[in-house]
């Protein structure tokens, strides 16, 4: 799919124009993924925002007479859990957690990865070797294991989860940023800037960063999605977020205790995760086609 002609929007200012494309393939609605991704992501962002102002009921206070209401009950359209807490209210607060933790982890690792990646690309062979081998080693440590260890030593919670995600994602960001920056650093205009007497930092900030911004945005989106999945997994295991914070993973954990009693409880939070992650992944793929045609071709 991603081998089609880039759309007319494919070269915004500051992004290097890709070499001519190979043979055009048949037209699929190529920006469909961008559109669907954008809609889904905006939807969840809106839900998370609304949850600060309006919730159908308190998602943490048990109301025993309302326990296990079926979906469609007026006032509790998706039903209630075993303690009578409204599912919609919990899902809304869960969106908040997912976005906070996912975006938090992606942001911190983006910052650290960009610093390390640029340093590796722009400095001498020894620094580059050290940073590259270092991230290779960190990549070999399973993220789930890192997160478990962190939770064991620091106690679990949203902040620990963000830290774990940062530790987990930074090496991959470093790699991607390094290779993108290397590509830009080989361009003629960089040589020109250097000849003009521009310092290393200036060149990186003024010329390299804007040219890899597309890659950064795409990677941010994809790791945002990965962060949501990991957070859900950790909270499901009981080493992520816990009440009074609510996470979709936590809801699934609680629901599984009652599988067989009320299976719909195990459906909704899962759907929320899938839709949000799918939305972000589609958005990332769509943005890649638009912002980063080179990478898009390689990925297809």
């Amino acid at each position: 799919m991603t081998m089609n002609q880039p759309s007319p929007m494919s070269a915004p200012a500051g992004v290097p124009i890709s070499p001519p494309q190979r043979k055009p393939r048949r037209k699929l609605p190529r920006n469909a993924s961008l559109l669907i991704g954008l809609v889904l992501t905006a939807l969840f962002l809106a839900i998370a925002l609304i949850s600060f102002f309006y919730l159908p009921s308190n998602p943490n206070i048990p109301v025993i007479r309302n326990r296990l209401l079926p979906a469609g009950t007026p006032g509790h359209w998706l039903g209630t859990d075993v303690l009578g807490r409204d599912i919609i209210a919990q899902l809304m607060v869960g969106a908040r957690t997912s976005i906070l933790v996912g975006a938090g982890g992606a942001t911190f690792s983006l910052i650290l990865g960009t610093i390390a990646g640029l340093a590796a690309a722009a400095s001498g062979k020894i620094t580059d070797e050290a940073i590259s081998r270092g991230s290779d080693i960190l990549l070999a440590i399973p993220g789930m294991v890192t997160a478990l260890v962190l939770a064991a030593t620091m106690g679990s919670g949203a902040l620990t989860t963000i830290l774990a995600l940062t530790a987990f994602f930074t090496p991959s960001f470093t790699r991607v940023i390094r290779s993108a920056a290397m590509g830009v650093l080989n361009e003629d205009f960089i040589t020109a800037a250097k000849l003009y007497g521009r310092g290393k930092i200036f060149v990186l900030a003024r010329h390299v960063l804007p040219n890899i911004a597309g890659v950064m945005i795409v990677q941010f989106t994809l790791y945002f999605a990965a962060g949501i999945l990991t957070e859900a997994g950790l909270s499901y295991l009981g080493v992520g977020v816990h009440r009074p914070s609510i996470s979709w993973g936590l809801m699934l954990n609680e629901a599984q205790q009652q599988v067989g009693v009320s299976s719909p409880l195990a459906i909704w939070p899962g759907f929320a995760i899938v839709l949000m992650v799918l939305g972000l992944n589609l958005l990332g793929d769509g943005l890649r086609d638009v912002l980063d045609p080179k990478l898009a071709r390689r990925a297809s």
Binding site: P142, G143, M144, T153, A225, G233, V259, I273, N281
Partner: protein
Amino acid sequence: MAIYVLRKLVFFLGAIFIASLAIFLLIRGAGGNVAAVVLGKGATPEAINALAHTYGLDQPLAVQYFDWVGNMLSGDLGRSFRTNERVSDLVTARLSVSIPLALSGLILGLLIAIPVGTYAARNVGTPSGAILALVSQIGVAVPVFWAGILLSLLFGVRLGWLPTGGWTDWSVSIWGAIRSLVLPVLSLGLIMAAVLIRYVRSAVLDVMNQDYLRTARAVGMTRTEALLKVGLRNASLPLVTIVGLQIAELIGGTVIIETVFSLPGLSRMMLANVAAREVIVVQSTVMLIIIFVIAVNLLVDLLYGILDPRVRSSR
């Protein structure tokens, strides 16, 4: 080739050293008196000191680190504070659950992903190719534990064909053990497949556009023949890499799936020991897992060298 292997071996050892340092500092650096936490409230200072002394926890961190590494090198992974069981025994007891689970999950994932990914690559742009791309896109977004919960709802609760969780040991009944592994392996394999399909598809697409494939067709091979005889070896390179990278992912998935189906595997042992602050157990188990992952990556690199002569000379 010898230099290539040597270089990879040096990296392997260096990686293990750095990882061991990182793990040690992470776990011990968090501070707190380990012995006091292990013994809980109400422990006398004498008891705390005695435990700390027995396990060398009163030594400087550097000494503790070298003791730990030295012991590991001689095959002693340490003992649990509470039960005094050997960590190596704790680990091996769990492997009969975790290894079959992870390995079958990976194999199932590959068995699905290779044909489906190849099919998707050969049908790029057609409706069936687009549907496959969409399905794997959705599959990637499904958390592995949700897949597990849904499968156990369907096959365990609704249909009652398979247990929803729990473990029958191999020694009790081989059939029972297999039955308790079916749904976990299925969940793990399906999710792995969704991820792998995308890689297979792009690897095959890449190969299909190469000149050597056209040459193979020109000398009279059919499309399938050319793909199998010439394409497969070339496409296997990125695939081997991906499988290597997915090992870490696979272990993460296994951790969660063991919890979903209450399997007494390595990760549940880890979770329990994390909660109990059994630092030695956690530290050594984590280190074993990391050594395993790095070793798989070493094997992948070596395999890469065998599969592709260019790699040997260029690195």
